[in-house]
Symmetry: C4
Subunit: 211 residues, 4 copies
């Protein structure tokens, strides 16, 4: 018996609603890291606010990165035709990655410009390597030609699928670069993460599509 | 090949779900700024609660402002027919603005009635200028006649579009007024922001529609 | 020109999504009031956890109350056919009420069993009076026979509408009772609020329907 | 008069949206338990981060458990055809269980490795027993043959229903095992909870289906 179109949309719709909720909350909780300076005079407040640049930098990079991850998640699921149990589980692993982001963000906010900043940046960029891998695992499973019936509603060799393959393959090595850079400089590592967010903000068709 | 009506609704639907999540969380996180006074006797508690008026004022203005922004977002997207990559990115910038609101709110709560209140109000009103500009950029892009096929499902010269053009054009200069007022008085600046929220709460057709 | 059925559902759907988000977040933020006791030995921990009964009581009453309010909101909107600007604004006022609930909850948690507990209970029950009034205002507007075309998809004299009228009319006076009780006893006031949540948990048709 | 298919989907859809919101927020609030160590040198930070293993362990077990509960909730509601008042109330009890999870998680994070760890683990595992029972109560009600018209869209003796019966029946005794284990060892209790999450992550058809 074939499930109706409407049942299938409800099925993927709820996975998307849960995922959207997790993304929306993780991206909004980042603001809790922006602390109001306490007990200061007027000029002291100006200096204190300016001195919080690591907080703002870490906030912006994390916001942009989670935002990009949401756009990518959205793109993947516009191609999905049906959902199975393992897809739910792999998506949960990806959401674990997204959910944790406020913690390394907070670590970088706190330690940038202090002793321990390189360790903080290692954790931060390293976590993005983990998420990039989780994205690739999810996508490889979704687009696998071995699944019958297919989870995607486009064939595995369609241009959309190949474009995403091409773009996603860059994620883990590029974040690994940010990870390695953190052994030398925390600021450089964070800047690479920020640059990657900007890069992935550009539409996918302008990136090499793996052919 | 034309995407079906149902695909398009799913597409915009998910952008709306993510945006609704961010708005709902940002507006609800504001309550975390309302702190319970500690270690006080009965009469002391009454004074302490009454003395927190800056917290309540900042909470109410921010709640009303985010609420209005949600209603406006909702209005814009009832006109949307399809979503493209740049629209997702511009919407993300707008959500960045919304997400951050609890931080300047907290700043105003903390400093209103103290040294540094004008700087706090400058940051607060200045941030609303940024959001008002982000709204205009998003809307100009959405309603641009140059996009083919159009992102809106009504023509660029329809009354709905012109009414929104007219209303939105007022946002940045009016919030700039609140920003400038903060150089003289933090309370006046906050009052202007509150007044603008009330103004935008009135239905759009009662505002000048730009003709 | 008549809006299509699908447009209308999208319209009310998004209002519901935003409202569901606010309810879900407000109800979940309550858990942040449950604090883990610090720096205690094993037996000390047991006493400390048991000594937090005001936290648990306030949490449960607030959880049940927000839950009931969500069920009622859900019931109202199953009857809605279309949404207008003032309905969005009145709904926003109701959500303001819901969003704030963690603050008086926290106040009761902190002061129950201490000096100031009656003031805390006054604020708590008083806030529920405000929300009950906001619910009635929203509902009167939704069900008004004066709105053309009607916002509801059932006639103003249908049994569903009259049943809700009957149930909602009880809200403000009953919460006012809890408010008045707080002048004598904070525990009694909180118990009344809890009892009202249980009462409203029973299906509506078992309550007097106003005829 | 029969409600249309579209009305029914809207009805269950909103219950799912609210539930998804609560699950998404509860699972994301867990990250607030991961605290950034303060005021430490570089090597001190490494030790401090490594010394937070109870936080990471409790976070992972709770994340996996809430994630599994969401997948199970999702599975149940794919079978639902209509919603009644008592189903809303029973679902609210289940969500109460989910919402509270960050509190026992925080308790375990704080006390694992210290005096009081067994009490913390008792509360933690005991709470999962409560949730498992709430799941069974909700499911028994949903799948009851006595409800006319049926809440499910499959008959009470269908394979899907029997498979879920079989799987859910294991929940309370297995979490009770983790509860009992906490009298001897907090770590063993937490490990059992983690193992159960992994077990329930496997697709349902690989578990005994009660025949």
């Amino acid at each position: 018996m074939e499930a109706s179109r409407s049942d299938i949309e409800k099925e993927t719709g709820r996975l998307e609603a849960f995922s959207d909720g997790v993304y929306a909350i993780a991206i909004t909780l980042l603001v809790l890291e922006l602390k109001v300076p306490q007990e200061l005079s007027g000029p002291g407040l100006r200096h204190a606010l300016a001195g919080q640049w690591p907080d703002y930098a870490a906030f912006l990079v994390s916001f942009a990165t989670i935002g990009i991850m949401w756009i990518n998640h959205h793109r993947l699921f516009t191609l999905v035709r049906r959902v199975d149990h393992l897809l739910l589980v792999l998506n949960l692993f990806l959401l674990l990655g997204v959910t944790v982001v406020p913690f390394p963000t907070s670590l970088v906010s706190r330690y940038l410009g202090h002793d321990g900043e390189r360790l903080a940046a290692l954790v931060y960029a390293g976590w993005y390597v983990v998420i990039a891998i989780a994205f690739n695992v999810l996508w490889r499973y979704m687009s696998s030609a071995a699944r019958k019936p297919a989870l995607l509603r486009v064939p595995p060799d369609s241009p959309e699928v190949r474009a995403i393959h091409g773009q996603f393959a860059f994620g883990p090595p590029l974040y690994a670069l940010a990870f390695v850079a953190a052994f030398w400089s925390a600021v450089a590592s964070l800047a690479i993460c920020g640059g990657l967010a900007l890069l992935f903000l550009t539409p996918p068709r302008t990136l090499p599509a793996g052919r």
